[in-house]
Amino acid sequence: MKTQSPDTLSVRILAFGIAKDILEDNVIWMDLEPGSKVSDLKSALMEAFPAFEKLQYVRFAINESYVTDDEIILPDDEIAIIPPVSGG
């Protein structure tokens, strides 16, 4: 767990499949504004990793459940980038 100043939301992000390849790691940390939504995280990721735009369809999970872009991110949330799944 990183220390974080009250005016920064430092979030841990898990990446799988092709998202892991784009981030070049299976876990990264990003600093967001407190009160940020998933949509804000998405924009920040796009900016930091332009290759993300190539993915047509990405979902996010918080604490192991799918969330919509409107979901507000809380400190200590476990966020996961879920590119198109292909189990089975």
């Binding site: 499949g17 993915l55 047509q56 189990g87 089975g88």
Partner: protein
């Protein structure tokens, strides 16, 4: 409804799943087994590599079993998925359902494999003779 949800690095066991699914009240058992094909379109597949967001994959599989049993009266549901490196002919997934009547078992089993392929956070990389790709990454 009882369910048996497994995510494992070990080979799956269709016959053990059959035994689990059989109950005295059941008239029909339908089991779907996925197997690794030696080709995808024109490309020759050497192996598949599966990875999962494991705790969430388990939760999603449990959720799908629950949703399924609300729609069809299932006695038992088994969803077993393999992780790691699999060669041609190996079994990535086995899904089985037992019900009183066979139509329900077919419908429930088909629902589960269709839903698994949409919702459960598991990813498959196809390794060909000359390269590899994450399946469905660029639909």
């Amino acid at each position: 409804m009882e369910s048996q949800i497994h995510l494992t690095d070990l080979p799956l066991d269709p016959s053990g799943i059959h035994r689990y699914l059989s109950t005295p009240a059941s008239g029909g058992i339908v089991v779907f087994t996925g197997t690794v094909r030696d080709h995808n379109q024109d490309l020759r597949v050497i192996r598949l590599e599966f990875e999962a967001y494991e705790p969430m994959a388990i939760k999603e599989m449990e959720r799908l079993a629950q949703v399924c049993s609300e729609q069809w009266p299932c006695h038992r549901i088994a969803i077993h998925h393999r992780l790691g490196v699999l060669g041609v002919g190996e079994i990535p997934v086995v899904i089985g359902v037992s019900t009183a009547h066979r139509q329900e078992a077919f419908a429930a089993c088909q629902f589960l494999i269709d839903a698994l392929k949409v919702h459960v956070p598991i990813w498959k990389k196809e390794v060909f003779t000359d390269g590899s790709q994450w399946v469905s990454a660029h639909p």
